[in-house]
Symmetry: D2
């Protein structure tokens, strides 16, 4: 058993016992039913080794982590022109804030807050029916993860649609500014379905490998994105991936990461590892409480922080 | 001549010819008189090699870059307790904004916006006379840079004092909330003087080495800060070091960096290099226009981005 | 011919010749087609005399002026309990702002900004179909004006629905907070139709009489609202009736007034007159440019300002 | 004994017994020592009759009520040009907010929030020493009240100076924008002293007579300001005189009024009465709790609301 294998197991065991697990998100009813005691961790290293612990094979709703894949897809479609419709600065506001949009004429601060992700969904829609855009994204994620079994949880998708009034507000608000170009309900259809993709930690860590490998699917494998684009997506994850707690995540963990309200986090140690963690309870900023702690433990023990000297 | 030496020279030559150099800051009169044609670059690598180009030996006003050294000094005094008085999130607002303070009860978002740096100065003051705190900071910077010739430009310090109405407003505003504990004019005295420290690119890159070396003065040398603290200061520089253009700097350059309105930028490639660049013209966000471009060139050519796989 | 009759005619003639007429609202297409040269004025005095000038018999889209009648209707339904769902303070922001809502947990500042009027529409909906609530409001307005010919302009109503993305955003945003209780599209249906009521200056001034007469339909007539409620509606019109130009309207005209983007303004001189003016060109704050000027002339000449000694 | 005399006495007796008296302001130490049980009321009617009840002859710190007299003085100096340096819209924010200033380039929303009153003080300073401007204002207030005994409470003035960090912040912030033209400490000197004027309800109601009489000192007396200016000051008091509770005061009381944190309120019934009330306990918005209630009682009983028909 390698040191890393042991570490992954140790972290999962420590997390299993912790009483302070945060609060499971309740505003999407099917998510509210998830057992807060679940915890999964998967680390895929540069050499292809896969380390699993806890509920690492259990699919969960990836929610906002899908924004990483959707952004990659949209950059593939329109390239750097994307940045005329969405910024790349931390917002300093919660994930669902609408305040910044009014001040900045409907241009979201970055592609990882909900408003920005809606613009990305609008780009991916590209005049097609929502199911075409969703199908394309799903195929892309399956390809990245080398796993055809990944699906969308339709119960979650319908619940998002039925309760997503703030997202409906954001989409219509940006439509008024012209930042959203399709009928808002179509763009929202894409967005609600992408959030409802269900993946396990293993599938998620596998899908994140291209960000560890400078844009290659695997070492010596096919190129998913240019190396510069992989770096830039990592940069966006680090500065904007945890909403108004992004600075704190960079401070504590020191890795590019993207969280979702389903309790998952995808983190990348460039050149070293693609990591996925899942624990449904959220902290006050809406990020997985134990997921963040587990990544802090992992980064401390491995020295994988991008801010460390080695 | 090594490849890096050639690269440093090439970048300096490219910058010398560029017509779009940004605007020199005018609100501090002595800074307004600086020739926008100046350009300096110094790269100190992990092995101690020093590469200089252009005006790399010419002292300039380091301004907000001093916030890195002052934060390090304050963390040495009060440790992590510092974070009860200042946050560590990107602000999403310009360097001198007061809006966020009203909403968040006088707690600045991070130590690199002016409000946060004033709190840090207040911590460093620690009940002493301003000149004691300033003298201590100056000795610390000289020690880091191994250079006793570093001084404060008194003309700049007086000009800051005479025109710094926004900073006076920020300090008094935080005094009303109790975030500033000394008489505001004393805290402001420390702050105005630390901004007026004059350093060359060479001195600045030398002073930044401890952030490249995981907290050590030099490889095998004395410990300046614990390794974890060095990582955390790097993380703060990356997420907050360029105000509301921090995300863009991370996206384009991919290195922890701190800019000053004097046109300097200190950037750290952990384990690889400490870099200082100077070009007085600023872009719309108040960061050195050519300095940013030069660092982008350097990071692209060397692959030093913290978000790259190697 | 009385002095007042002459004054009304004089003002209409002065307005006919003025070249600076503001800009006709373009975001609702049917409104964009209105001739900016139109001008109407009607003054109904306490003794029942009616003075007309210009296009005072021409129906126009009353838009936000409908908020006065809808508020009166809602207060009749739920009384002072209404104020638990909407505030009564000037907002300091434009009519369609969403910023204040985020900060104040979905409670609109007052019933005359769009967000507040949507809550009022939600109250008037009261579990019925939208056409029931709209029919009720239309009957109420016809009764106030003693005029059965008042109708809703269906072309305008459909155009509002097709282009009202900001209002859709506001309604969904408040639904997320629970301030809107019906399905947002139902509440919006009521709102878009009430805005599309078409009335002439004569009809509008007649409908406003109850606010001049302390709540009575006419002197000695039926009571529409208690005297205290009439005073309070007047107070709200004065402090909030012109969005972020309410202070300026109070300063210049000194009368309770409510404007609409169709170019109409209803103004009340308590105990003296109910006044309606119409000129389609709007000033920068979205209020009728010549309508405001005409009311300023009228108030200056008559001394009807509520702030005057007599 | 007239009905009004009886009413004034009845209101004072009702207020004497009420247990919910609000909280005395504590941030200016000498004000914190005031007995919350005090209550005074003075009504001066158009015919010159003076009705007194409770502690109506007891001087108290008029604080922000001084802004009415200072504005009148400044309008006398520079006329309508004043409005290029300060707005006349309700701010929607608390009295000491700085947020709006950042968004609107240092121009305060109205002359009755602290920022606006500082600009008015800067205008009144007019290049002279602070004591000249203060002396002039004091003489003006004595003249209005026909009472040479009115003085400045120097203990309060010094306490304001020692604790007024938010006001110091506001003045310096506006100095950075050029809205304040003198050295901030001079402008602040004027402001702190004007707030420390001590007056009784009787003196205050007498001083407010010119706003009841359309700008005349008394019926048939000397003209203090043109009639239009008196109306406009009344309008500003109604829309902006109670900070972010101005709408509520207009709704409940219906009279132009200006409150101070000393617990005083000056209210004007144009053509009918000048009223001063004093009760030191403040409500959540910083306005006198019982003072507001007493004025509501008085306006209800007399029908003096400017929004009433008679």
């Amino acid at each position: 058993m390698t040191d890393l294998a042991r570490l992954v197991g140790d972290i999962a065991r420590e997390m299993a016992d912790l009483p302070e697990r945060g609060e499971v998100a309740t505003y999407i009813p099917p998510l509210a039913a998830i057992d807060p005691g679940r915890f999964g961790l998967c680390v895929v290293t540069a050499d292809g080794a896969i380390h699993l612990a806890g509920d690492a094979l259990e699919p969960f709703s990836i929610q906002s982590i899908s924004k990483v894949f959707a952004l990659t897809q949209a950059l593939g479609k329109v390239g750097e022109a994307l940045w005329s419709r969405v910024g790349r600065e931390p917002s300093g506001t919660p994930f669902n804030s609408i305040v910044q949009l009014e001040r900045e004429q409907g241009i979201p601060r970055n592609p990882f807050i909900n408003a920005g992700a809606l613009v990305v969904a609008d780009i991916n829609l590209a005049g097609h029916a929502p199911r075409v855009a969703i199908g394309e994204l799903l195929r892309f994620v399956r390809h990245l993860a080398d796993d055809e079994s990944i699906v969308i949880d339709e119960i979650v998708a319908r619940a998002e649609q039925a309760t997503g009034f703030r997202n409906i507000a954001l989409a219509n608000y940006m439509k008024a500014f012209g930042t959203i170009r399709h009928a808002p309900e179509l763009t929202l259809g894409v967005y609600f379905h992408q959030c409802a993709i269900a993946m396990s930690c293993r599938q998620l860590a596998m899908a994140g490998r291209f960000l560890m490998h400078g844009g290659l699917h695997a070492p010596g494998g096919a190129r998913i994105v240019p190396a510069r684009r992989a770096r830039r997506i990592n940069a966006l994850m680090l500065t904007c991936g945890h909403y108004d707690a992004s600075g704190d995540f960079a401070f504590r963990v020191g890795l590019p990461g993207k969280s979702g309200v389903g309790g998952g986090i995808l983190a990348i140690a460039p050149g070293k590892a693609s990591i996925a963690v899942w624990s449904p309870g959220l902290n006050a900023s809406g990020n997985s409480q134990l997921g963040t702690l587990a990544l802090e433990r992992l980064a401390d023990a491995t020295g994988w922080s991008v801010f460390a000297e080695a």
